[in-house]
Amino acid sequence: MSLEVNGKQYEVDEEGYLANLNDWDTDVANKMAEIDGAPLEENHWEVINFLREYYEEYQIAPAVRVLTKQIGKKLGKDKGNSKYLYELFPYGPAKQACKYAGLPKPTGCV
């Protein structure tokens, strides 16, 4: 399968995750969100950027529980809770945000 962004084809798996981490850029993320019908705003980007940094450091996409806790530590308690994150990413914060961030599906993803 592939995703077309700015006239370029990107390889994705059957769930829409990028096949190659290095293909990612902000246009790819915006395109994925557009297809899902919810354009990305500042609050989404905070989480997406956090995930990319986490992956860079630890080479994994964090499980949703870890994501929630770390977001709380980094961006404040009002954002480090499931309600806030599910409002931003209704398909599941770890799953959906990781997809937009160009990361593999989180290990132990529930």
Partner: protein, 138 residues
């Protein structure tokens, strides 16, 4: 807590060097999955398994993903019981200073960083294993 409230003590015993086989990476994946289900998880590194935690791993030459930095995320998953077999280190001419430092943050003490690593003798390790519900060897 898991949904039915049953929390078992799982110990993952890592015995092999990190890149010759898939065991080390598979173990790490299963460990993270188990922790996501709120189980009591501990890890042991023994025999050549102690090499999994060596500092400064470089994998470009063998074309494998360097997953050694993922061990640092174990603390985020609340996995903070890491046992290193003292004799296995010594037999290989290694000491704790050759291994990564792994820490966890204690929320009850204002996120103070504490070491997750416990250096134990084989006799102590055998005792610790006896107290587990499940021991899985990789």
């Amino acid at each position: 807590m898991s949904e039915d409230g049953v929390v078992k003590k799982f110990m993952y015993v890592n015995r092999k060097s990190p890149y010759g086989t898939i065991y080390a990476l598979e173990s790490l994946e299963v460990v993270l999955i188990t922790a996501a289900f709120d189980q009591d998880v501990s890890l042991t590194f023994t025999d050549d398994g102690v090499y999994q935690l060596m500092k400064g791993q470089q994998t470009e030459g063998i074309g494998m993903k360097n997953f050694s930095s993922t061990y640092s995320a174990l603390g985020d998953y609340e996995i903070n019981k890491i046992f290193i077999d003292k004799e296995s280190l010594e037999e290989r001419g290694l000491s704790l200073s050759d291994l990564q430092e792994l820490v966890w943050e204690d929320e009850d003490e204002d996120y103070a960083e504490k070491s997750s690593i416990n250096l134990v003798s084989r006799a102590e390790l055998s005792e610790i294993m006896n107290n587990q519900d499940v021991v899985l060897s990789f």
